[in-house]
């Protein structure tokens, strides 16, 4: 058969496939109807066969190029992305993630670094005013003193809601930034982690020495556990990602990096979730004019939840998990 005749035969099919691709790009498959989807599959197979036999059919180069494009386009409609598998998330979050976190060296390292720096700077800033000034700066110190001059006032729901939005936009961004920077060999996120620990530690230490300390601690107690854990977790996820480039366990560096994603992404997702919880507490409970005991109770309960999650759910269980 001459090429021209062959092309004439096939062209109608290709055009029809093109048209179906165009339809599928703009509509769901359900709206298209089963008959058209079946027809699409048949035409796709036909185009695949034509492409595979292009050499034997002696098709001209521009037709071959067209077929590559057509098959690629149809392939993308036949195998679309799967979207979000929300049902998988619960199992991952409640059972698999804490198991991994319990054994995670990066989390321990991030935890030690954060709380080490936090404790150290709190001690230094609490003991000597010039050290606090070196760490925080005079301006920041005065600002803090002014902010906590008065006890938390009874704000309207409106004001608190606005602050909720502010915290939601602001805090997880720092965590995600810290996580993403971890890609730089695992140490990229350290400056963010350490500077946050230093500023927070110095503030905690310094505020203990000024008369406004009651107002300050009343405010920060309730949301502290979730927020600080989230910072540590985000940084640890970044380290897990970045260190996989160095410790490859026999994989190529790129493959090792991609494998680490299955651990790092759930970690950073948990961090964002914790940032969200902390934002709600920070906006609605921390500034509320309720007794300090109530806020302390919130802190105790949230710490208890974290302990339950990290320690009890994380406790190694059975042979099947240990074998992995």
């Amino acid at each position: 058969m001459k090429v021209a005749e062959l092309l004439e035969q096939r062209r109608a099919n290709w055009r029809e496939l093109e048209e179906l691709c165009r339809l599928m790009e703009h509509r769901t498959k359900r709206a298209l109807g089963p008959a058209k989807v079946l027809r699409f599959a048949a035409l796709y197979r036909g185009a695949c066969a034509d492409l595979a036999l292009a050499d034997a059919y002696q098709l001209p180069p521009n037709t071959v190029r067209y077929l590559h494009q057509l098959v690629g386009r149809a392939h993308n409609q036949l195998y679309p992305s799967r979207g979000f598998q929300v049902r998988r998330w619960g199992e991952e979050l409640l059972f698999e993630l804490p198991q991994r976190l319990f054994r995670d060296g990066c989390l321990r390292l991030a935890f030690l670094l954060f709380w080490g720096v936090f404790g150290l700077t709190a001690l230094l800033a609490g003991s000597r005013r010039d050290l606090a000034e070196a760490l925080l700066g005079e301006e920041q110190m005065q600002l803090m003193e002014q902010m906590y001059e008065t006890p938390p006032e009874s704000q309207s729901v409106n004001e608190r809601a606005f602050m909720l939005g502010f915290y939601i936009r602001h805090n997880p961004s720092i965590g995600l930034q810290c996580f993403a920077s971890g890609l730089l060999l695992g140490i990229g996120g350290l400056p963010t982690l350490i500077s946050n620990a230093a500023v927070l530690g110095a503030t905690f230490g310094y505020m203990a020495t000024v008369p406004q300390r009651d107002n300050f601690y009343t405010f920060v107690t309730a949301h502290g556990p979730f927020e600080l854990t989230a910072v540590v977790l985000a940084a640890a996820a970044g380290m897990r990602m970045g260190f996989s480039l160095i410790q490859t366990n026999g994989w190529t560096r790129l493959a090792s990096l991609r494998r680490s994603m299955h651990e790092a992404v759930p970690m950073v997702s948990l961090a964002v979730l914790l940032f969200g919880l902390a934002a709600f507490i920070e906006a609605f409970i921390s500034p509320a004019p309720i007794p300090y005991a109530a806020k302390a109770a919130v802190a105790v309960i949230s710490s208890g939840m974290l302990l339950f999650y990290f320690v009890l759910l994380g406790q190694p269980r059975g042979e099947s998990h240990a074998a992995r």
């Binding site: 021209a4 695949c48 002696q58 392939h75 992305s81 939005g165 502010f166 936009r169 995600l176």
Partner: protein, 289 residues
């Protein structure tokens, strides 16, 4: 990874589960830039419009704080999850990518999953470095790290792409190309005089098709020079007279291979691309035997 073959240029070969091999064309950093800018403008516009709407809707009711809370949360989502959400739900495309016919695929040519989509967009924070803060809330990323990574990786992958195992391809829909019509009488005559048992090899067929597709864009003397290399050995082999136009010979061989003999009614052929192509061969006629 089994599908990876040596890659010469910006085309990657994908082998599907059906064992079909086809090519994708990769999108380079500067092909992706317009799509990114469109997405940026869209996001900014949408946030601005929503902000105005929120203020108008909730301001009067005295609920502005509540409205702004939602808006700020939306801003966070737009900053970190815009690309990830769209790429996961729209099969690897954001509005900008859709406009410029780009699509994110996994490095193996399969569709991306939601984790890959979100990850490659969250890691943009690294690729976007150095970031110049314009104010406390706005910043411009210059994407230099991403540019260097894309230049260094064979598939224009920035760090987010490398970590998520994705690549961006161009999906430019084309029309099914027409065969170049060849209805000049000289060509038809010569084709009918060629030996009936002459069958062009596969490589010669490809060469003829490529030659005829492009010959109209090449000036006559350059065309003669190009045709000489294939045409002269063929002329000798077919026993045709010395001094004939090699261009004419190649056109006749093309005609014979792709359209068959002159007896077929060409005028009714649907492959005819445009009716006025005949006179492009006019120059050839003078040298014909």
């Amino acid at each position: 990874m089994s599908a990876e073959r040596p890659q010469l240029d910006t085309r990657v070969l994908i082998v599907t589960p059906e064992n079909i091999a086809f090519e994708y064309r990769l999108a380079g950093p500067f092909q992706r830039l317009p799509a990114y800018l469109v997405d940026l403008v869209l996001r900014t516009l949408a946030l601005t419009v929503i902000a105005v709407a929120v203020v108008l809707a909730t301001g009067g009711a005295g609920m502005i704080g509540l409205g702004m809370a939602g808006w700020l949360a939306l801003w966070f989502v737009s900053d970190w999850l815009y690309g990830g959400l769209f790429e996961a739900l729209w099969n690897g495309q954001t509005p900008g990518k859709r406009l410029f016919r780009l699509r994110v695929l996994s490095a193996e040519g399969q569709p991306i999953n939601a984790m890959q989509a979100v990850l490659r967009n969250v890691l943009r924070a690294v690729d976007a470095q150095p970031v110049l803060p314009l104010s406390t809330e706005f910043a411009t990323g210059f994407h230099l790290i991403g540019l260097v990574a894309a230049a260094a990786s064979g598939r224009f992958q920035r760090l987010g792409d490398l970590a998520a195992g994705t690549m961006v391809v161009v999906e430019q829909p084309q029309r099914a190309p027409d065969l170049v019509r060849m209805d000049n009488q000289l060509v038809v005559n010569l084709a009918s005089r060629l030996p009936a048992d002459f069958v062009a090899s596969r490589s010669l067929t490809r060469t003829l098709a490529a030659y005829v597709q492009r010959r109209r864009q090449i000036p006559p003397r350059r065309l003669a020079e190009i045709a000489l290399h294939v045409g002269e050995p063929l002329r000798v082999r077919l026993g045709l007279p010395r001094g004939m136009s090699h261009d004419l010979l190649l056109c006749a061989l093309y005609f014979k291979t792709f359209f068959g003999t002159a007896s077929e009614p060409l005028a009714s052929s649907p492959f005819v691309s445009n009716g006025s192509s005949g006179e492009t061969l006019a120059g050839v006629g003078r040298e014909a035997p």
